[in-house]
């Protein structure tokens, strides 16, 4: 399942870091950050609990880039 989230981040490199962090989160199959459109597209693994996974994603992204926002 794929879901798109609006994000807020200032620099392109930070966006890349968020993408990496999201990809590494358990329950996420694949993820892309579109810096220009300020969107995070997450593909979840089958049967993943979307809300719980996204909580982890937000946490992991905050670690790599404190100054980011994901509108879940």
């Amino acid at each position: 399942m794929k879901k798109t989230y609006k994000i807020e981040v200032d620099c392109a490199n930070c966006a890349n870091k968020m993408e990496e962090a999201t990809k590494k989160t358990a329950g996420v199959k694949d993820a892309t950050v579109n810096f220009m459109a300020l969107k995070l597209i997450v593909e979840f693994e089958d049967g993943a609990d979307v809300d719980a996974v996204m909580k982890e994603v937000v946490k992991n992204c905050k670690i790599v880039e404190d100054d980011c926002e994901i509108y879940v």
């Binding site: 620099c11 392109a12 810096f35 597209i41």
Partner: protein, 627 residues
């Protein structure tokens, strides 16, 4: 400018003014340090905070860390040495100016592109008890009647139930040819109603309408990243640690070597060089300009009615050497027309009337073209006993006579002695009561822009043009000869097309890409098998939008060459930025390491390269718009 940007701008101005004023004050010692710390913290507090948080979260080696280390280092050199703190402040200042410019430029292109794609309708008009009410298009149920005034956008796909008007489709197709619509005709959302009031019965929900599909496609475009984009992310990942360790080595190794060789170690000089090295190294120019180039390219293309689903397709399209076309609907109009009538013993009109009457119940494109050519109203009561013989034609009783309309096979089966006609189109023979009365040629017309399109593709570097068709060999070869297509495969079934494309992919070179162009009807498997699948004339065809990588909103083959040329330009800008940014960086790193350049030059180089790269990247927005 946004609030955040304005705040940064204010900080920059205050810090710069303070720095200049402090330069005139004859303060020395600790007081001097404290006074200079004020502008330093004003301009750099957020960077120091971020760097600190990064270290705490085990995320060292980002640009905040680089800047923090470099400026704190410069402050320390100031304390121990000549008391010059301006360098640290200046580095922070320039860094913030660079960041501000970058965020401004990115915001600006974001805005430009959303303006380009300003086709999202804000409301729909519905009539409630005779009063017009504006509602959110999302809330309009399928089958409702909406009202579209002149000057308004059609918000939802539907069928006209009342009124007639002219629509401007340029927002969807990039073509400014207006389209006339009447009652009963389908209209697509995103068009602008120009002349009359239309009442439209919706046939889709807003979310499923053309305009939503297009917006969705464009907004999610860069989820597929180009190789050069991935290269940059990887590059940045390894680059920063390498630079940090090199800087450390630069600070430590030469002095130690000096000590061993019993020369003055000159610690502060090497430390200074190492710090300047760190300042130079920020990879921002690369990291920002590459996605910005692709974003501009995709956004600009959508204005031209060329929708590209990902930056990887821009890259692939630029390396295209083989273009494979479907024939019907792609290079030809897919509309059949009677091009020649050869009667035998009766008048042309009579021949057409017999043929049209016999075919009057059929919906086959050939029957339609016969009816169109006859042009008068058909009296269907004259026709009875219609029998369709699949793959042959039709027999019927027309005003008491038995009429047969069909191909050679039909004539042979009925033992009619017919005169064989030579033609490049589809041949229809007509017999009345077993006697041959003439033949009709029906052909598909080549699109007017097809020939120049082929020439342009060759000019753009395509090695081979190939056409695939289910049509007869003779027809296919004539079209190919007229257009200058190199290779033709005819009389194919849909599955054969996939096989041929697969064979071509197998024998071509790794870096030579293959593009398939179709109209989205029956060719979804081929579209997805090719390196890039282009669907044309896709307004309203969801299947085509789904299967293709690039969607042309109208059916003009000239757009293929256009898309290719623009992709090449876009890639050129991407490579310019990669080479330019890396080149200048390496040069500066070397100059700093050997002590020719100082920290001022380092920060100038960093911010300057970024500004130039970003400006260069925004050029991609314009290249597609040019006609």
């Amino acid at each position: 400018m946004t609030k955040k940007q304005k705040k940064v701008l204010h900080r920059i101005i205050i810090a710069a003014v303070l720095m200049v004023v402090l330069g005139f004050l004859p303060v020395q010692g600790l007081l001097r340090l404290v006074m200079y710390l004020v502008p330093y913290l004003i301009i750099g507090h957020d960077i120091l905070r971020k760097a600190f948080k990064g270290i705490r979260n085990k995320q060292v080696f980002d640009e905040n860390f680089l800047m923090a280390v470099a400026t704190i280092g410069a402050m320390i050199i100031g304390v121990t040495g000549d008391g010059d703190y301006t360098e640290a402040i200046a580095v922070m200042l320039f860094y913030q100016i660079g960041e501000l410019f970058q965020s401004y430029a990115v915001g600006k292109s974001r805005k430009n592109i959303s303006e380009l794609m300003d086709i999202r309708p804000d409301y729909a008009n519905i009539e409630v008890d005779g009063e017009i009410e504006q509602v959110d298009p999302d809330e309009v149920a399928v089958g409702s009647v909406i009202l579209v005034q002149p000057g308004e956008k059609v918000p939802i796909d539907g069928v006209v139930v009342e009124g007639n008007s002219t629509l401007n489709t340029s927002a969807l197709t990039g073509e400014s040819v207006p389209r006339d619509v009447r009652v009963g005709e389908e209209v697509f959302s995103g068009c602008i109603n120009m002349t009359g009031v239309l009442r439209i019965q919706t046939i889709k929900e807003f979310g499923e309408s053309t305009v939503s599909k297009i917006l969705d496609l464009v907004e999610n475009a860069s989820s597929k990243k180009a190789k050069s984009e991935n290269f940059i992310s990887k590059f940045a990942k390894y680059y920063t640690p390498i630079v940090c360790y090199s800087a450390l080595a630069l600070a430590v190794i030469p002095p130690i070597v000096s000590i061993i060789m019993q020369i003055e170690p000159n610690w502060s000089d090497w430390l200074y060089r190492a710090l300047s090295f760190l300042v130079t190294s920020c990879p921002c120019a690369l990291v920002i300009s590459i996605p910005l180039s692709f974003f501009g390219g995709i956004g600009g293309a959508s204005k031209d009615g060329i929708l590209i689903k990902g930056s990887n397709y821009i890259e692939t399209l630029a390396a295209t050497k083989y273009v494979v076309f479907d024939k019907t609907g792609t290079v030809t109009q897919g509309v059949f027309e009677v091009t020649k009538v050869s009667p035998n013993g009766i008048t042309e009109d009579a021949l057409l009337e017999y043929a049209a009457l016999a075919e009057c119940y059929s919906t086959h494109p050939i029957s339609k073209s016969l009816k169109n050519a006859y042009g008068k109203v058909l009296d269907m009561t004259k026709v009875s006993d219609v029998q369709e013989i699949s793959g042959n034609g039709v027999t019927a009783t027309v005003i008491g006579k038995s009429v047969a309309v069909g191909n050679e096979k039909l004539m042979k089966n009925l033992d009619v002695s017919y005169v064989k006609a030579e033609s490049s189109g589809t041949l229809v023979y007509v017999a009345v009561d077993g006697n041959f009365v003439g033949s009709i040629v029906i052909s598909d017309k080549i699109k007017p822009s097809a020939k120049t399109a082929m020439k342009d593709l060759k000019k753009a570097g395509v090695k081979k043009l190939v056409m695939l068709t289910g049509d007869a060999k003779q027809v296919a070869e004539q079209v190919a000869a007229e257009l200058g297509i190199d290779e033709v495969h005819s009389e194919l079934l849909p599955a054969d097309k996939v096989a041929i494309v697969e064979k071509m992919i197998a024998v071509k070179g790794e870096n030579e890409k293959l593009v398939f162009v179709g109209d989205g009807v029956n060719d979804a498997p081929v579209l997805s098998r090719a390196d890039v699948g282009i669907a044309m004339g896709a307004i309203g065809s969801d299947a085509a939008i789904e299967a293709a990588d690039i969607v042309l909103m109208d059916d003009d083959p000239a757009k293929i060459a256009k898309a290719m040329k623009h992709s090449k330009k876009c890639m050129r800008i991407v490579y310019q930025n990669i080479y330019f940014a890396i080149g200048v960086k390496v040069l500066c790193l070397v100059l700093v390491a050997i002590g020719i350049a100082n920290m001022w030059l380092a920060i100038f180089a960093d911010v300057g390269v970024m500004v130039i790269a970003v400006i260069n990247a925004t050029r991609t927005l314009g290249i597609f718009g040019k006609r």
